[in-house]
Symmetry: C2
Subunit: 301 residues, 2 copies
């Protein structure tokens, strides 16, 4: 089996939904520790309006800090999420290494999030992605609500394939399928992943599942079985709404890596260190977070 | 796809490890409500020494209660776990409809649990199973620690296959593979299930996973994909040690059935009612239990 890659999204998808703002210095410490764990990509933050999303207000500052060689000693790729041209501009200036951007396969979700239809959003995102690539940056485009939508329910697979096709036609192979609402199920994952690889076997697919209904790891496993190599997950399983707390977060990084460890994959990742960061997050937020290994310890043999 | 069957083990595997003893009348109420949900088998309790396991002291009484036709209005099968001949005798007298019994694939686990080696335990269990069958009872035999052991770590698959073979040779096809420690991973599940079906395609396999490391549902899914039709799970995800609480329970019934619902299977089971019982268990034990749907509500569309 080939190597798989862990894209740690806790600092962005995890922290952004928290009520409590994590101090910039704490974020710096956690990012440094995450770099030491051996995860491949760390999503540092998103370039959104600081008034609208105060938890992400220090994203520029964080990237600028890690742009200094003395502050970044590893090869970990630091990624940033951008929603529009303004964000892209800020990200370029701040030193983002990998840009993440995307559109939603759900019209309702797209409209609510961006004020645009999916097609309108695509017309805006594709040139942004091309510009970032032309500037020598890594770029990952996403299909949000790819497996279902909390507003619309079922999302016809053709909507997902149409977006993926447009990305591929524009030479953007690095595509993330995001299960924003956590509706994905493993049979659907098999179907969608296999169909996309049959469209283009060179697609570099990433999966981003939420564990809302407890199917996150099963979905990752089926994606893995069908050839997906990139997985987005959050330490401690962060990312749920703090009020329904334990259930709706991202797939938990340390639990996911523990599964891959059982297949003799990614034993180089320091799970103890990830659990250490997860425990600091629990202490800071003052509540139990959903990760399993966080509670029962590592399975080592 | 064929029908799958839910064997609800919360009343036994869930309640037995709790510090708090659930009053018999509460157990009766919960069992009645579980019968109304449409699950296929309910494991009511185990016939162990009442002093050793006080949470199970009323098992005889519960079976006697439900043996009266006026107290049992559904076709749900009521199962009881027996560990030895004395337990079998008690179960026969109390009116058990389906007997569950088994041996551990781990020598250390077997010795600690029964004082016998795996082979010695098998020599005792097989005649018990035959006697119960001869008495017209349904019988399910199990392989405990089939996927790993918290004392021994890895359990060679041959140890599992040897036990299964002995069961099959003795005409006992109804075999449960129990992941007592929660060490199973989906690739291992594929391997073991496929191997057993190649030994005997008529084996009537049941899977009993614990969610210690978050792989419970992924394991169920792979077992399902490879033809397993019987699943043992506990409402609310009960079954963890109350001290490491949320992580180590059984696979959660309502979360598992929710997954099957996504495949249009078992939509006849009343998930709202199961969640209702799960909420009563949370109230009684005064702590949050691990089930996901319990927190976020049903996914309906």
């Amino acid at each position: 089996m080939n190597k798989i890659f862990i894209h740690e999204v806790g600092m962005r998808d995890g922290l952004q939904v928290e009520q409590q703002i994590v101090p910039t210095q704490t974020k710096i410490n956690w990012i440094k520790e995450l770099m030491e764990t051996g995860v491949d990509i760390i999503q540092v933050g998103s370039f959104v309006h600081p008034v609208k999303v105060p938890t992400m207000a220090d994203t520029d500052e964080l990237f600028k800090y890690f742009s200094k060689p003395e502050n970044k000693k590893s090869n970990t790729i630091l990624a940033g999420l951008v929603l529009n041209e303004k964000g892209l501009e800020r990200g370029m200036e701040a030193g983002v290494e990998m840009f993440c951007m995307g559109v939603s396969a759900s019209e309702t979700h797209s409209k609510k999030n961006t004020g645009m239809t999916t097609d309108e959003a695509l017309e805006r995102i594709i040139p942004m992605a091309k510009n970032a690539k032309a500037a020598g940056k890594e770029v990952q485009v996403s299909v949000q609500s790819a497996f279902g939508c909390s507003f619309e329910g079922e999302i016809p697979r053709e909507r997902v394939f149409n977006i993926v096709e447009k990305y591929l036609q524009n030479g953007i192979l690095n595509i993330s399928l995001a299960d924003t609402a956590g509706h994905a199920n493993p049979i659907q994952v098999e179907d969608i992943i296999a169909s996309i690889y049959s469209m283009n076997p060179d697609a570099k697919l990433s999966c981003h599942f939420h564990d809302t209904y407890g199917l996150g790891i099963a979905n990752c496993f089926m994606a893995f079985k069908h050839g997906v190599k990139y997985f987005e997950s959050a330490f401690a399983g962060l990312g749920g709404c703090p009020f329904t707390a334990k259930a709706s977060g991202n797939v938990c990084t340390e639990d996911l890596v523990n599964m891959f460890n059982r297949f003799d994959l990614r034993k180089d990742i320091d799970l103890k260190k990830i659990v250490g960061i997860a425990k600091k997050a629990e202490a800071l937020f003052g509540r139990e977070l959903p990760g399993k290994i966080l509670k029962v310890g590592l399975l080592e043999y």
